[in-house]
């Protein structure tokens, strides 16, 4: 008897019991269900919601591992910087070291554990109360959440935010698949508005910087967007390669653009995420970046303007700093909250990129706006779909009205309704 059979027998045994949904959740997490739909026009494939979610998690694992190393690296780099030692990032020289890994794992893994434990507890609780199966929705959310918060986010804050995000962002709408807003971003937005001091500034991005602040060993790590927003872009010691490979301070999983890019390609290849949304969001960000660059080139704002730093930032570099790449690849493509129609996806993605860079430049308190842009477009996604569908109906109505009905040239039914469309 294999484990799978054992689990299956147990499932039969506990069918109809109160805790059955909780048990079934674990069973189907490990194995595909051993029965498929028997009749009717259903797709009888094994890649159910749970497989879809697991694919996304696989695409997130490299980012998580990189985030662990980077958390350690940024800590030691900041300590070095405080002692006047300038570090040059090199992948095998001082990045992939045990020292970094242990320090990073010590700070990042608790975030992952709290995110999953609290989120799944809420999901299991709701499943048992409502008496339905546990929904898989939290699998991806639980992995996204630790990747989009600063490393030193206090665990209790994360727990409060996760409860809020799962209950208000998802369960009140009816659970997985019914939510209007992306739950992971709801959690991020809650943290941002509830505890702004823990979500912005130059201390939160580096492990222990908050604890050591004001002391003799004080360290700090400003994000690139932070430098630019304060007009201190010249003091920044990060090269474009650092930004692209991710050796920069930031939220846990957002820094490495190359790994996010690989994850995105994997999601496109496995047909889990929409390439239309990703591509149009990139275009949207580039367009907004070009507009701002154009404003600077035209001399409409002076160097003393507080927007100068971010506006003069090369348009394509917006893509490799901050959370834009991460948001586009893993959050904007959420099939539940995004636009559903192919044409709608172009608009939806475009405005995500466009508005992200817009908020990034003009937000006075916090030089990043990807999560706000995606949440905003989540709200508009049904409207976009509505107009795309209406447009299609109108187009076809018009075509039908202008169609010339040819006179019947035969007796058969086939010839009777021969229409020529224009």
């Amino acid at each position: 008897m294999s484990l799978k059979n054992n689990l299956h027998n147990l499932k039969e045994k506990y069918k109809g019991k109160k805790m059955a949904p909780a048990f079934n959740a674990i069973h189907t997490f490990l194995y595909a269900p051993n029965e498929t739909t028997h009749s009717g026009s259903h797709v009888r494939a094994v890649d159910d919601l749970k497989r879809t979610m697991n694919t996304v998690i696989m695409a997130l694992v490299p980012v998580l591992i990189f985030g662990i190393f980077n958390a350690g690296y940024q800590h030691y780099a900041a300590v070095d910087a405080a002692n006047g030692v300038v570090r040059q990032a090199s992948l095998f020289g001082n990045f992939l070291t045990w020292e970094n890994f242990i320090m990073g794992a010590w700070t990042v893994l608790p975030l992952v554990i709290v995110s999953y434990a609290v989120g799944l507890a809420v999901e299991f609780l709701f499943a048992v109360i409502k008496g339905h199966e546990v929904e898989e929705g939290y699998l991806v959310t639980g992995m996204l959440v630790p990747l989009i918060v600063p490393v030193d986010t206090p665990l209790w804050m994360l727990a409060v935010a996760v409860v809020f995000g799962v209950v208000i962002g998802k369960e009140v709408f009816g659970g997985t698949g019914m939510n209007i807003l992306n739950p992971a971003l709801t959690i991020r937005a809650f943290l941002f508005f509830a505890y702004p001091t823990w979500m912005s500034g130059d201390k939160v991005w580096v492990h222990q910087a908050v604890d050591l602040a004001g002391g003799p060993d004080a360290i700090s790590g400003e994000t690139i967007l932070g430098y630019l927003a304060q007009g201190k872009g010249a003091e920044m010691s990060y090269s474009v390669a650092d930004m692209f490979f991710g050796f920069i301070p930031g939220s846990v999983g957002e820094t490495s653009t190359i790994l996010i890019l690989l994850g995105g390609l994997f999601l496109i290849y496995s047909k889990i995420a929409s390439w239309r949304i990703m591509l149009s969001a990139v275009i949207g960000a580039l367009v907004m970046g070009l507009i701002f660059n154009g404003v600077v080139d035209a001399g409409w704002i002076t160097e003393t303007s507080k927007f100068y730093g971010l506006m003069s930032f090369a348009f394509w570099q917006h893509l490799i700093v901050g959370g834009l790449a991460f948001g586009i690849v893993y959050m904007a493509t959420d099939p539940v909250t995004g636009a559903q129609t192919n044409k709608g996806k172009w608009y939806y993605g475009f405005f995500i990129g466009f508005i992200s860079v817009l908020i990034r430049v003009f937000n006075p308190a916090y030089p990043e706006g990807v999560f706000l842009a995606i949440l905003l477009m989540n709200v508009f996604a049904p409207t976009i779909d509505h107009y795309v569908v209406r447009g299609n109906i109108n187009k076809r109505l018009k075509r039908a009205k202008n169609a010339t009905i040819l006179p019947r040239d035969g007796e058969g039914k086939a010839q009777e309704l021969k229409a020529e469309t224009v």
Partner: protein, 215 residues
């Protein structure tokens, strides 16, 4: 003999729970969002509305047979406006700081849907005593929700209640703040007030299934 007949008692008690103006009729939401960041402001707002609605109901009820139906809205507005101005002046005279916190929202009691709603639905068709009870009941139901929201928003948002630092001092790190607790800034923003109203509605409807509407 009891002070109030059974019917009269229900005029006061119904709006507190199963016919609450905010959670069931969803009226008066605007002020519930605007001024509930502090418990004190909520209480003063609740009392102001209680005064305006109680008195207004009586006045309208007394005049109900002589108001021409075509201009009754204007007459109602004049009555509310007079009462609101009285409240505003009293607040300005005796509680100036608070009146600044409440700012335009005292004046906006005029537009509070509950007040016009009760005038139209009750005072125009009932005697002064029952109208008075109805006004007190509805404004008490309104005030109850305001105070619940104000309690949670002030406690979680500022860590205080009526200005007292019940959770400790956030700057000197005493009480709860000593172990790393922080105030939830989101609680001070109006969206959170709407979410709190939503949670109250959720709790109320899951306790009393009869309140859930059919779709």
């Amino acid at each position: 003999m009891a002070l109030l007949s059974k019917k009269d008692t229900s005029l006061i008690l119904d709006p507190l729970a199963d016919n609450n103006p905010i959670t069931i009729q969803v009226l008066g939401i605007c002020s519930a969002l605007a001024i509930t960041a502090e418990l004190k402001a909520s209480i003063v707002m609740a009392l102001s509305v209680m005064f305006v609605l109680g008195m207004g109901n009586v006045v309208i009820s007394l005049m109900r047979n002589i108001i021409p139906s075509k201009i009754r809205i204007i007459v109602q507005l004049v009555v509310v406006a007079a009462l609101v101005i009285m409240v505003d002046q009293v607040l300005k005279a005796f509680a100036y700081e608070l009146s600044k916190t409440l700012s335009v929202f005292v004046g906006l009691i005029i537009t509070n849907c509950i007040i016009m709603g009760r005038f139209e639905a009750f005072a125009l068709a009932n005697g002064p005593w029952r109208s008075f009870l109805d006004g007190i009941g509805n404004s008490a139901g309104y005030g109850l929700i305001l105070i619940i929201i104000g309690f949670f928003r002030e406690l979680l948002g500022s860590g205080t209640l009526l200005g007292f630092k019940v959770l400790g001092d956030p700057i000197e790190k005493t009480g709860l703040y000593a172990i790393g607790y922080e105030n939830n800034g989101f609680m001070l923003l109006s969206p959170m007030a709407l979410i709190v109203v939503g949670l109250i509605i959720w709790v109320q409807r899951s306790r009393n299934k009869a309140l859930i509407e059919e779709n």
